[in-house]
C-alpha cells in the first residue's frame, strides 16, 4: 500500500530552486538525474508513518522545520575539527555539506592506487567514474529522502580503490554541522568503489558543533567487487537537537566481503538504512549499537538481499534505551529462489532502562529458496541474573553490578572495533552516557 504524503510548498520550491547552483550544474546527465529525482520527490514527498516501513518513525517535524540548503559552509573552530579527526587515518572533511580542503589529506599524501576526493573535484577530473557509481546501488529510489538527496546533494566523498590494492590506513570522512548550519539541510552523497581484490577501511563520522537543530540527509553507495574486502564504520554523533537520515546502500559481487557497522548516539530523531545486495559466495556483516537517552528516537532499518547462492550474512544490533527514548529496529533478510545454500543470521538485543523508554523491533525473514539456513533472534529484557550474582559475589553492590552489566552490554559491540582510535572515540560516547559505572578507558 503506498500512502502518498506530498511535500509542502517549501520543500517543493527547494528542489526546483537549486537546480542552477548545485555541483555539476553544467553537466547534462547529472542535471537530468537531479531533475528526475526532484520530480519524484515532488510526487512522493516525505514518508508517512502510515507506511509500513515508517510506522514507528514520524518525520513530520522535519517538514515543519522548513530547513534551507546552505550555499556555503559556516566556520568551525579548528580545535573542534581536530577533536573529531581520528589518528592514523586519511581524512576528508565537510562542513555543512561543503568540502574543507584545509583539513583534508592532500592528494600528494595519499598512496598510489587509491582515489580519495570530494565529489565536487571528481566531477570534473573523473566524471566517468562518478557517472558509473552515482545512483547505481540505491535500492529504494522511491524513498522521498533518497530522491531529495539525489536532487540536492551538495558534495560528498568519492573513494575508489584500484584492483589488488590494500590501503593500510583507514579513510575517515567527517561531516560537521556548524553554528551557521542551524536550520539547514545538508545533503551529502558518498560513493565508494572497492575494485576486485582490494582491501580498505572507511569510517564516516557525523558531528554537530553546537546544540543546534539541523537536518543531515546522507547517502552512501558502496560497490564491493569480486574478492574485495571493505570495512565501513559509521559513527553518528550529531547534536542532540538535530535530525539525521542516513543510508548505506551496498552491492557485493562474488566473494566480496563487506562489514558495515553503525554506532548511533546523537540526534533527536535519526533513521539509518543499511541495505546490501549479496552476490554469489559473498559475505556481509551488519552490526549496530544504539544508545538513546532523553527523548531521542533511533531507527535502524537493514535489508540483506540474498540474490545469489552460497552467500553468508550476519547481523547483530544492540540497543540501550534510557529516559523517554525510543529505539526501532527492522531487519529484513530476503532469500531469492536462486540463492540456495544461503546462511544468514540476525540478532537484535535490547535493554530498556526506564519505564518511559520504548523499543519496537521487527526482524523479518522472506525466503523463497529451500536449501538455506536462516535464523533470527530478538530479546528485550533484563540483565543475565547469573552474571549479576557473580559480580555481587565479588563485592559489587547490586546497583553497581547492574551498571557494569549495562555498560558491558553495549561495550561488547565496542570491543569488536579493531581500529583503536575509532574504538576509543565510540567508547567516549558510551562513557559519557554511563559515567556511574566508574569505567576507565585504559582498562579496555
Amino acid at each position: 500500500m503506498s500512502v502518498l504524503h506530498l511535500p509542502n510548498a517549501h520543500y517543493k520550491s527547494l528542489v526546483s530552486a537549486h537546480e542552477d547552483v548545485l555541483l555539476g550544474d553544467q553537466i547534462s546527465w547529472l542535471n537530468g538525474l537531479r531533475k528526475k529525482a526532484a520530480d519524484q520527490f515532488s510526487e512522493i514527498g516525505f514518508p508517512s508513518f502510515r507506511e509500513e516501513e515508517w510506522r514507528y518513525t514520524n518525520v513530520t517535524p522535519i517538514e515543519k522545520n522548513k530547513f534551507t540548503v546552505p550555499r556555503e559552509s559556516g566556520s568551525v573552530d579548528e580545535a573542534f575539527i581536530n577533536s573529531v579527526l581520528l589518528e592514523g587515518c586519511y581524512h576528508l572533511v565537510f562542513v555543512d555539506g561543503h568540502f574543507q580542503p584545509t583539513y583534508s589529506t592532500p592528494v600528494n599524501d595519499l598512496p598510489s592506487g587509491i582515489l580519495v576526493s570530494a565529489l565536487s573535484q571528481a566531477i570534473t577530473e573523473n566524471e566517468a567514474l562518478v557517472k558509473s557509481l552515482l545512483d547505481s546501488v540505491v535500492e529504494t529510489p522511491a524513498l522521498g529522502f533518497v530522491s531529495l538527496n539525489t536532487a540536492l546533494f551538495s558534495d560528498g566523498a568519492i573513494i575508489s580503490i584500484e584492483e589488488n590494492t590494500a590501503v593500510e590506513k583507514p579513510i575517515q570522512v567527517a561531516f560537521i554541522s556548524s553554528k551557521a548550519g542551524a536550520l539547514t539541510l545538508s545533503n551529502t552523497r558518498n560513493l565508494i568503489f572497492a575494485q576486485a581484490a582490494s582491501t580498505a577501511h572507511i569510517i564516516e563520522t557525523y558531528h554537530g558543533v553546537e546544540d543546534e537543530c539541523y537536518l543531515t540527509n546522507a547517502i552512501t553507495e558502496v560497490v564491493v567487487e569480486s574478492n574485495a574486502t571493505l570495512s565501513h564504520d559509521r559513527l553518528q554523533a550529531e547534536s542532540s537537537k538535530a535530525y539525521h537520515i542516513g543510508g548505506v546502500y551496498s552491492r557485493l559481487d562474488d566473494k566480496g566481503v563487506f562489514k558495515q557497522s553503525n554506532y548511533t548516539f546523537g540526534a533527536s530523531t535519526s533513521r539509518c538504512e543499511s541495505h546490501a545486495i549479496l552476490g554469489e559466495a559473498s559475505d556481509c556483516t551488519l552490526n549496530g549499537l544504539y544508545v538513546g537517552e532523553d527523548r531521542q528516537h533511533m531507527d535502524h532499518h537493514t535489508r540483506l538481499n540474498h540474490a545469489q547462492p552460497h552467500a553468508t550474512s550476519h547481523e547483530y544490533y544492540k540497543g540501550i534505551l534510557n529516559d523517554r527514548s525510543q529505539g526501532v529496529f527492522q531487519g529484513r533478510i530476503i532469500v531469492a529462489q536462486d540463492a540456495q545454500k544461503t546462511d544468514s543470521k540476525m540478532n537484535n538485543r535490547n535493554l530498556l532502562l526506564s519505564d518511559r523508554a520504548e523499543v519496537d523491533t521487527k526482524p523479518q525473514l522472506e525466503i523463497y529458496a529451500d536449501d538455506v539456513k536462516c535464523a533470527h533472534g530478538v530479546t528485550v529484557g533484563q540483565l543475565d541474573e547469573t552474571a549479576v550474582f557473580y559480580l555481587r559475589s565479588r563485592g559489587a553492590d547490586e546497583q553497581m553490578a547492574k551498571n557494569m552489566l549495562t555498560f558491558a552490554f553495549a561495550n561488547e559491540m565496542v570491543e569488536r572495533i579493531e581500529f583503536k582510535p575509532l574504538r576509543l572515540a565510540v567508547l567516549d560516547e558510551l562513557l559519557e552516557r554511563f559515567p556511574q559505572t566508574g569505567m576507565k578507558k585504559e582498562w579496555l
Binding site: 500500500m1 526482524p363 523479518q364 525473514l365 528485550v380
Partner: protein
C-alpha cells in the same frame, strides 16, 4: 533441482477427501449487499431491534472502510455484490428442530465427514454444533450440558433465548468496527455458536462446532461467542470443510472469547476448507478475526490451530492480556501446498502485570505455497514483569515455495522479558538417508519428520483432534520426498 526435490514434488499430490456436494434444496438470498438485505436477514432470524441496529451500524461503517492491503497474500478484488449472504437448507426453514427431525441428507453429510449427529453414534464426550452454510442444523448433548448450567447452542437460538448475555458480551472483544472483515461479519453474520460456562463450572465435555459450506456463490459469515465466567474451564474445538468448486468462496468469521477471573478457555481449530486444485483454481478465502480478552486476573486462553485447508488463510487468533497474571498461548501449524497462501500468526497484547504469553508457530511450505507468520507482541506501560517467548520455525519442502516471518515486538516496560527465535530449514538429505537406511520408506520418513516438526503443537490438541491433524498433514503431503 536435486533428485529428492523432484520426488518430493511428485509426492506432494494431495487429495481433498471432503470435497463432495450435498444435493439439498436451499433457500438462498440472491447475491448482493445493502441495508435491505441486512434487514431481511435480521427479520428472517426474528432478531430483536438492538441487534438489527448493531448490524446496520457495522454496515454503515464498513462502507467507509478500505480493503486492507498489508498482508502477504494476493488475490483478485472481491466483488461483495456477487456474494449471497444467506443460504440455508429448505428443510431448516422453520428454525432449529429437534435432532430427530433433521433432514437425513444433512445427517448423512456429517456422517460422511466423520461427525455423526445421531444419538447412537455420537462421539463420546464431545458435544457438537453443526453449522451448514448459514445456519446451525443441530446441537448435540444440549440437555446434558444444561444440567451443568452450560449453555451451548447456535447463535440464533442464543439471541432468542439469552438476549441479555448476547447484549452484554457481543462485540466487546471484536467490535463491529474492528476491521474490514469483522465489520462485514457484524453486518451480515448468519449463525454460529454460543457458549456460556457459569461460575466455577468445569465443562463436563468437549464442545465442538463443525462448519460446512455447501451452497455455491455463498459466503459463510458465522460468529462465535464464548464466555467463561469466574473460575470456569472449557475446551472448544472447531472443524471446517467445503466442497470442491472452481470459484473462490469467502468465509469471514468472527470469534470472541471473554475470559473472566481464574477461568480458562482452550480453543482448538482444525481448518480444512477446500484449498483449491493443484493449479490454484477455486478454494476458500478464510479471512477470520479471532480474539480473546483475558478480562480479569489469572485468566488463561490457549489457541491451537492446524491450518491445512483454504486457498488463502488470513487470521491472527489474539489474546488481550488485561487481567494481572493472565496467560495467553498460541500454538499453530500452517501448511501451504500448491498455490495456497497463508498469512497467519497472533497478537499478544500485554496490559496487566505479570502477564505471560507463549507463541509456537510451525509453518510448512510445499509446492508453490506461500506461508507467512505475522505476529505482534506488545507490552504496555503498565505491564510490569510481563514475559513472552516466541518460536517460529519454517520448513520448506521444494524450491518453489516461500516461508516468511514477520514478527513485531513493541515494548514499553523495562521489566519485560521477551525472547523471539525463528529459523528456516528443510528436511536434510542426511535425515532422509538415515531413515531410509533404517528401512523406513521415503514417504513415511517425511511424514515422520514433519510430524516431529509439529510435535510441540499437536501435543496441545485434544486427543481426537491430534489424530485427525496428523492424518490431515499426511494427506496434504501425500507422496512427498525420496
Amino acid at each position: 533441482m536435486s533428485a529428492s526435490n523432484e520426488n518430493l514434488k511428485n509426492m506432494i499430490g494431495q487429495d481433498y477427501k471432503d470435497g463432495f456436494v450435498t444435493d439439498i434444496e436451499s433457500d438462498s438470498f440472491p447475491p448482493g449487499l445493502n441495508e435491505d438485505v441486512i434487514r431481511a436477514l435480521s427479520a428472517k432470524k426474528e432478531e430483536p431491534e438492538f441487534l438489527l441496529e448493531w448490524r446496520l451500524e457495522a454496515y454503515r461503517h464498513w462502507l467507509t472502510m478500505e480493503h486492507p492491503e498489508w498482508s502477504f497474500v494476493e488475490f483478485p478484488d472481491i466483488d461483495f455484490q456477487e456474494i449471497s449472504y444467506y443460504s440455508a437448507p429448505k428443510s431448516m426453514e422453520d428454525g432449529p428442530k429437534s435432532l430427530d427431525e433433521v433432514d437425513p441428507e444433512l445427517i448423512s453429510t456429517y456422517n460422511k465427514l466423520g461427525i455423526p449427529l445421531e444419538e447412537q453414534m455420537r462421539l463420546a464426550g464431545v458435544a457438537v454444533d453443526a453449522v451448514f452454510d448459514s445456519v446451525s442444523v443441530a446441537t448435540t448433548f444440549k440437555d446434558k450440558l444444561a444440567e451443568a448450567g452450560v449453555i451451548f447452542c447456535s447463535f440464533s437460538e442464543a439471541v432468542k433465548e439469552h438476549p441479555d448475555l448476547i447484549k452484554q458480551y457481543l462485540g466487546t472483544v471484536v467490535s463491529q468496527y474492528d476491521n474490514f472483515y469483522a465489520a462485514l461479519n457484524a453486518a451480515v453474520f448468519s449463525d454460529g455458536s454460543f457458549v456460556y460456562i457459569p461460575k466455577g463450572v468445569r465443562c463436563p465435555m468437549e464442545l465442538s462446532t463443525y462448519f460446512r459450506i455447501n451452497a455455491a456463490n455463498t459466503g459463510q459469515f458465522e460468529r462465535t461467542l464464548i464466555v467463561a465466567d469466574e473460575g470456569s474451564h472449557v475446551s472448544y474445538l472447531e472443524g471446517c470443510t467445503a466442497p470442491m468448486r472452481d470459484e473462490n468462496q469467502l468465509h469471514a468469521a468472527v470469534v470472541e472469547l471473554v475470559v473472566l477471573k481464574d477461568a480458562e478457555i482452550k480453543y482448538s481449530t482444525v481448518q480444512n476448507w477446500y484449498p483449491g486444485d493443484e493449479n490454484g483454481v477455486g478454494g476458500i478465502y478464510n479471512f477470520v478475526t479471532k480474539r480473546a480478552d483475558c478480562r480479569e486476573d489469572n485468566a488463561k486462553v490457549s489457541w491451537t490451530q492446524v491450518e491445512t485447508g483454504s486457498a488463502i488463510t488470513w487470521k491472527y487468533p489474539s489474546v488481550v492480556l488485561t487481567g494481572d497474571h493472565s496467560v495467553g498461548e498460541f500454538y499453530s501449524v500452517a501448511l501451504t501446498n500448491n498455490y495456497q497462501q497463508a498469512d497467519t500468526g497472533t497478537k499478544m497484547i500485554h496490559l496487566g502485570k505479570n502477564t505471560k504469553s507463549t507463541i509456537i508457530s510451525k509453518g510448512i511450505s510445499a509446492g508453490k505455497g506461500q506461508n507467512t507468520y505475522r505476529g505482534l507482541v506488545k507490552v504496555g506501560r503498565q505491564a510490569e514483569n510481563s514475559r513472552n517467548y516466541t518460536q517460529c520455525d519454517s520448513l520448506l519442502l521444494g524450491d518453489e515455495c516461500g516461508a516468511h516471518t514477520f514478527p513485531y515486538i513493541e515494548t514499553k516496560h523495562p521489566s519485560a522479558t521477551i525472547e523471539h527465535e525463528a529459523s528456516t530449514s528443510k528436511i536434510s538429505e542426511d535425515q532422509l538417508f538415515y531413515c531410509m537406511q533404517r528401512g523406513i520408506s521415503a514417504e513415511d520418513a517425511v511424514s515422520m519428520i514433519v510430524n516431529g516438526f509439529c510435535k510441540e503443537v499437536f501435543k496441545e490438541l485434544p486427543m481426537e483432534f491430534a489424530v485427525e491433524a496428523q492424518a490431515l498433514l499426511g494427506i496434504s503431503l501425500e507422496g512427498s520426498v525420496g
